[in-house]
């Protein structure tokens, strides 16, 4: 099933069967996960993969750039931010470094298709990332990693 294209930032329920769209924090005790990639198709794939994480009650939001992600994060208060490395304008590392400053409780994860060691080291040092994933990803590994990240973020009922 293809979920709606994320042209505008949206929040999606973490149920693949009935992807009820909910804005902001209306979903109550759910983990809020912000996905950032400049490729709408990649975001679709991430949404599909994480939408099937049965064990993870979550609300998914998407952004197509670092700038948009920061705007979205201000109201969404994500538990987890998963960002692609290479994006026009702000890179994923720059974005996660700013997330660290403005949303220190958010767990930061970088995903990249470039197997460049320098990227990993820079991400660890500059953005103090918690998780690093490679593209192409395995859906099962992705779900497990994001579920683990969400659980370490302080619980779905965490306040702003």
């Amino acid at each position: 099933m293809l979920l709606p294209r994320p042209e505008a930032p949206q929040a999606h329920s973490g149920s693949a069967a009935q992807p009820a769209q909910q804005e902001g924090r209306s979903a109550g005790a759910k983990y809020r996960i912000l996905l950032v990639d400049d490729e709408p198709l990649v975001l679709d794939a991430l949404l599909q993969a994480l939408g099937r994480a049965k064990e993870l009650p979550c609300e998914l939001a998407t952004a197509l750039s670092g700038e948009e992600a920061l705007r979205k994060a201000a109201s969404f208060d994500p538990h987890v931010v998963l960002a692609d490395f290479r994006m026009p304008g702000m890179t994923g590392i720059d974005l996660l470094a700013r997330v660290q400053t403005h949303h220190p409780r958010a767990v930061r994860a970088l995903i990249t298709g470039y197997n460049d060691l320098d990227i990993a080291i820079e991400a660890m040092e500059k953005a103090k990332i918690h998780y690093y994933l490679q593209k192409p990803w395995n859906n099962e590994d992705l779900r497990n990693t994001i579920a683990e990240a969400a659980r370490t973020s302080g619980g779905p009922e965490r306040g702003a």
Binding site: E55, L117, A120, M124, T145, T152
Partner: protein, 509 residues
């Protein structure tokens, strides 16, 4: 219940040694930072790919492991070096070199492994090495029965070729299957397991008891009498299995829901690794069908190498059977159309060991794929380390170690996928334990030893029918037989029962 005593010797020689080399960054780093450990695992010896590849799992906080990463990069010795994944406590790296480039590498990297293969043979199975507090602990299995003296001279040759410092041989031994692949035998049904876990958790088997039958009854919503009967039945099953393991019948399978010992949070957070035991159901799979047809015959499967380039895989089968049955098994292997070679490694009146090389089929593999389990390594990924597979009747038991903490649902999801690829019908995760230490050994199971006196009283009681329903004798009958008081009999039996129940639960259930 752990495997039968004695163990079956495989024609493998196990070699374990420790080495500490200050020139190797991981030694320096783990010595300086006691909370960082590493596991080094060879994933490709480069025979067909021309590339020598390995993974390094660094266990420790990111701020420390990122330093190791920088140091490895600064060495500029690797043709491939990349981060496969990173979590707050585990950094998984992949590194590789062209084989012709490898001899220039120092440390526990490529050169030592090349030398091990050169000296001990290309079939040698290099196990994951652990690096802790500056010391590298290496283990490998040579698929031959080698005399200790010969192994020691080979190790001397290895040492002089590599020139490690602080080289110490820890163990040279014949490989015992049961030591590394203890058969997890499930003795209780799902409801019984839930009940015994509850009773133990509430302290019913403590001395003195920390709860009453009434407390347990209240928790399970039953009256005292059925709870008492159920607990007695459990005790009898476990005692009977202890006294006479051959009389054990398989209990009903558990529906796919976590066992009490595997529920979320049950894996200790301090344990960086997880050991998993799985029972696989694969109707028609030739070796297990053969084992089932031949009245409980047992076999061990040791995965050897998978060679994607030639589309073949190899494995070692050890069949514990008399010569006639062993010959039938050999015929069965040779009749398989995918088998390219069958080499009899050794045989005696009770064992047959064969090395099988076979073509890998298109997936799903099907029940006639004799080397299916060799592909578990590549299917599960570099973080998993598989131990020998055991066939006992129709039951196939797998054991493996994952170099991080995992949940039961994560393991099940992976096994679902792998099962679909390989073709087995169903499986059950029977045990999941977190632990620290050597991944090639797995967690140590701390079993409480039944004392000789308790053992004697227990066996007499069993022989007199104390553990039958209804009982064939009373405590007084046993007391008269042994010439001691009924009270002493009761104390000995209670102590033995408690230990056997705890040991059953501690061995993974």
């Amino acid at each position: 219940m752990l495997g039968q005593p004695g163990g079956w010797a495989l024609p493998l020689t196990e070699v374990v040694f420790e080495v500490s080399d200050e020139s190797y960054p991981l030694c320096q780093f783990t010595r300086a930072h006691g909370n960082v450990r590493a596991v080094y695992r060879v994933t490709d010896v480069g025979v067909s790919s021309g590339f020598f590849r390995a993974t390094i799992t660094l266990l420790g906080p990111t701020e420390l492991t990122s330093h190791v990463l920088k140091e490895l990069r600064a060495l500029k010795r690797y043709d491939e070096l990349e981060v496969l994944s990173m979590t707050p406590s585990v950094l998984l790296l992949k590194l590789g070199n062209r084989v012709d480039h490898a001899p220039g590498i120092v440390g526990i990297g490529f050169q030592p492994v090349n030398k091990v293969l050169e000296i001990f043979g290309m079939d040698t199975l290099i196990e994951p090495a652990t690096i802790e507090n500056g010391t590298i602990r290496c283990r490998f299995l040579v698929p031959q029965n080698l005399e200790t003296r010969r192994v020691l001279s080979m190790l001397q040759a290895l040492q002089s070729a590599i020139q490690w410092t602080h080289f110490r041989v820890i163990r040279v031994a014949e490989y015992k299957a049961t030591r590394y692949a203890d058969v997890v035998r499930r003795l209780l049904g799902p409801d019984q397991e839930d009940l015994i876990h509850l009773a133990v958790a509430l302290g019913f088997y403590n001395s003195p008891k920390a709860c009453t039958l009434n407390d347990i009854s209240a928790r399970v919503g039953l009256s005292i009498s059925p709870v008492h009967k159920k607990l007695k039945a459990i005790e009898q099953t476990l005692i009977n299995a202890y006294v006479d393991p051959t009389a054990v019948k398989a209990p009903p399978r558990r529906a796919r829901r976590p066992r009490p010992s595997m529920q979320e949070g049950s894996v200790p957070v301090t344990g960086g690794m997880t050991e998993v035991a799985v029972h696989v159901e694969w109707p028609g799979f030739l070796p297990s069908e053969f084992a089932a047809r031949n009245d409980g015959l047992r076999a061990v499967y040791q995965a050897l190498h998978e060679d994607p380039r030639s589309g073949t895989a190899s494995a070692l089968y050890v069949v514990v059977a008399p010569p006639r049955q062993a010959k039938e098994f050999l015929d069965l292997l040779q009749a398989n159309k995918r088998v390219q070679s069958v080499e009899v490694v050794s045989k005696d009146m009770a064992h047959l060991t064969v090395k099988v090389k076979a073509e890998m089929p298109q997936e799903p593999a099907g029940a006639d794929d004799l080397v299916a389990f060799t592909r578990l390594h590549s299917r599960f990924g570099p973080e998993a380390y598989f131990k020998p597979v055991l066939f006992e009747g129709k039951q196939i038991s797998l054991r493996f170690v994952i170099l991080r903490r995992v949940t039961a649902s994560e393991v099940e999801a992976r096994l679902e996928r792998i099962g679909a690829e390989l073709g087995w019908r169903d499986f059950e995760v029977v045990s999941l334990r977190g632990f620290e230490g050597d991944p090639s050994m797995g967690p140590e199971v701390h079993l409480e030893k039944v004392t000789p006196r308790q053992e004697e009283v227990l066996r007499i009681a069993h022989a007199l029918g104390y553990y039958k329903t209804p009982r064939d004798c009373t405590l007084e009958d046993i007391a008269r037989t042994l010439g001691i008081s009924a009270n002493a009999i009761h104390k000995n039996l209670t102590a033995a029962e408690e230990k056997i129940i705890r040991n059953y639960l501690n061995s993974g259930f």
